[in-house]
């Protein structure tokens, strides 16, 4: 059977459905919205403004969004969150990390704290500087300025954070409009700088994240080693990719911030390339000391060359949380080439990023496995409160850490804005989130039904703020 995935890029194609569920959100009474390309098309068609169309540099330079634009972004992000996360939401309790608890606290914390941090960063580097943060990702691998982090600014900090606070009934729909604008403008500018195709999300462009400059792609393609399925080198590459991906999840407290895919890029031979950053050692987190002890670098970048024809690929999505899904689901047996590169520290210059041959991955795989076991043992000894607090940091600090680092405002955020402190309101909410199933039932229902993303009032003043700007 021939691959049909290129049909997905034809303008009138609606794509496949990856799930049976549908989304309603704020569109009660209208046809429910499915996942994928068709869902994106429907959501765009329901917009009241032009903000979901391809936007220009002049558009992203405008200081703030109008109320209709804010509401369109709110609705689209709500659908997009549902699209990428609704099936993941079935996974239940971790058995180890209280993830739902740390997630909701962190999201609400982000909505309260990020506006002043992002405004300060914009003040420091200007609009050009914010756009440049995104643009930097075009020429780098092993950078956390990537889909999931950029998406998180708007989808998590604004979308789900505001949704959680509304559900907790501590804010109202027309509160914090100015702050919402600050968060969403920052996201739009970073995403625009990164993508430079006018879209701000992968889902808006048929789940493609083809951001890297041709010169970088050419360099990377030259590093690909043949590894035919069933060969020892294929086994070695696949085991390494999986083990590094696992450690990247664990180091980020079972969240997707450790993984960053871009692509699919079409190679000269017709195969597809996925570029996968696996952040195995984030030095901002104290528990990463076990990774240091095993000489695990900040990031392993794994290049995966996929034979789409042999796979009879029907659709490939690199979604907005940086994860690749395909139909058929199992692309691993069709990986026919690969390479691994190392970025030792987050700020290692690109000129010092180096490749490791597949044949030499053995000792590095052992280091990853040792670090995984040590980190697991460390986490297993942490009490619930420690796990929730650390998980909050992974979200609240980790999601904007790459942008603050790139802008050079991280130290200022720590010293002048107490980045690592937890807002007293959030500290108090810690005791509320386990009551009446708030974290495990109420918030997930609000998020995944879409009923919790209340729109801003049509006549609301977009300058409305409850922030205590210092």
């Amino acid at each position: 059977m021939a691959a049909k995935y290129t049909q997905r890029y034809e303008s009138n194609d609606n794509g496949l459905r990856f799930q049976e569920l549908t989304y309603t959100g704020n569109f009660v009474g209208l046809e429910p919205v499915p996942d994928g390309i068709l869902g994106d098309r429907i959501m765009k068609s329901r917009a009241q403004s032009h903000v979901l169309e391809q936007v220009s540099e002049a558009d992203v330079r405008v200081d703030d969004f109008t109320i209709p634009e804010l509401n369109d972004l709110n609705n689209y992000l709500a659908w997009n969150i549902w699209d990428v996360l609704v099936m993941r939401a079935t996974e239940g309790a971790s058995g180890m990390i209280p993830r739902q608890e740390y997630e909701i606290l962190a999201m609400m914390h982000e909505f309260y704290r990020w506006p002043e941090l992002l405004r300060m960063t914009t003040d420091e580097v200007g609009v050009d500087g914010v756009i440049a943060i995104g643009a930097s990702a075009r020429q780098e691998i092993g950078t956390k300025v990537n889909c999931v982090h950029d998406w998180s600014i708007g989808a998590v900090g604004f979308g789900m954070g505001r949704c959680g606070l509304l559900a907790l009934e501590v804010i109202e729909a027309n509160d914090y409009i100015e702050e919402s604008n600050t968060i969403l403008k920052f996201m739009q500018r970073v995403q625009w700088g990164k993508r430079q195709d006018g879209w701000i999300l992968n889902s808006q462009n048929r789940y493609r994240c083809q951001i890297h400059e041709p010169a970088l792609l050419d360099k990377l393609a030259m590093l690909l080693e043949r590894c035919e399925p069933g060969s020892p080198s294929h086994d070695q590459l696949i085991r390494f990719n999986a083990a590094a991906e696992l450690l990247s999840f664990l180091d980020h407290f079972d969240c997707r911030l450790g993984l960053g895919d871009t692509g699919p890029y079409r190679l000269a031979n017709g195969n597809l390339l996925i570029i996968r950053d696996l952040f195995c050692n984030e030095d901002a987190y104290h528990w990463s000391d076990v990774c240091d002890h095993e000489n695990v670098p900040h990031c392993y970048t794994v290049l995966l060359e996929i034979d789409a024809e042999a796979m009879a690929l029907e659709e490939i999505r690199v979604n907005d949380i940086s994860t690749t899904f395909t139909r058929p689901k199992n692309y691993i047996p069709h990986v026919v080439g690969g390479a691994v590169l190392v970025r030792e520290k987050w700020d290692t210059p690109m000129g010092e990023v180096y490749p490791v041959s597949i044949a030499e991955l053995g000792p590095r795989l052992t280091g990853i496995q040792n670090a995984t076991f040590k980190l697991y043992s460390k986490l297993a000894r942490m009490c619930r409160r420690q796990l929730i607090t650390n998980g909050m940091y992974v979200y609240y600090v980790g999601m904007i850490l790459p942008h603050l680092r790139k802008a050079g405002t991280y130290d200022k955020a720590c010293a002048d804005y107490q980045l690592w402190e937890i807002d007293q309101r959030i500290s108090n909410y810690y005791y509320d989130i386990t009551k009446r199933g708030f974290a495990k039932t109420t918030v997930p229902n609000k998020i995944f039904s879409g009923a919790g993303y209340l729109p801003f009032g049509e006549n609301a003043d977009r300058r409305r703020s409850k922030y205590l700007w210092s």
């Binding site: 079935t90 083990a243 664990l250």
Partner: protein
């Protein structure tokens, strides 16, 4: 073939791992299994569909996984695909109407599935794009 349970198939594979189902209730049980040296004798059964709980077992070569919740889009679903470890998620018993409910009170459902599978010798079938099957072996 006696199929006793089914669930979401994480990914399509011809692998048909066989082993005795072992329910792992907490991280201590995971560490204990690894230290016993018998990891590859067992099909692992976990309640959640998250990755961290089974992390070292996946890394050290688990042969097959069953979960009581989660989907292929869950972190464990993604990682099982990357490791090529057959994995059936949100497993339910074929002779029961009880099903997992997201965000619901699933305690009785989990207990029933666990009681029926734990300690049984099984083989996993994961060739179908959507449905994974658990065969009871004699």
């Amino acid at each position: 073939m006696s199929i006793i349970a089914e669930g979401y198939n994480s990914f399509e594979t011809d692998k048909t791992p066989e082993g005795t189902v072992m329910f792992l209730p907490d991280p201590k049980a995971v560490i204990g299994l690894l230290q016993s040296g018998k990891l590859k004798d067992h099909i692992l059964l976990a309640e959640g569909g998250t990755t961290t709980f089974l992390a070292p077992a996946l890394s050290m070569g688990a042969i097959g996984v069953l979960t009581l919740s989660g989907a292929p889009e869950s972190h464990l679903g993604i990682l099982s695909r990357e490791f090529q470890i057959p994995c059936i998620m949100t497993t339910y018993l074929c002779d029961s109407d009880s099903r997992y409910v997201t965000g619901g009170n699933n305690g009785a459902h989990f207990a029933a599935v666990t009681a029926a599978l734990n300690g049984k010798r099984v083989r996993l079938h994961c060739t179908d794009g959507d449905l994974g099957r658990v065969e009871l072996l004699a």
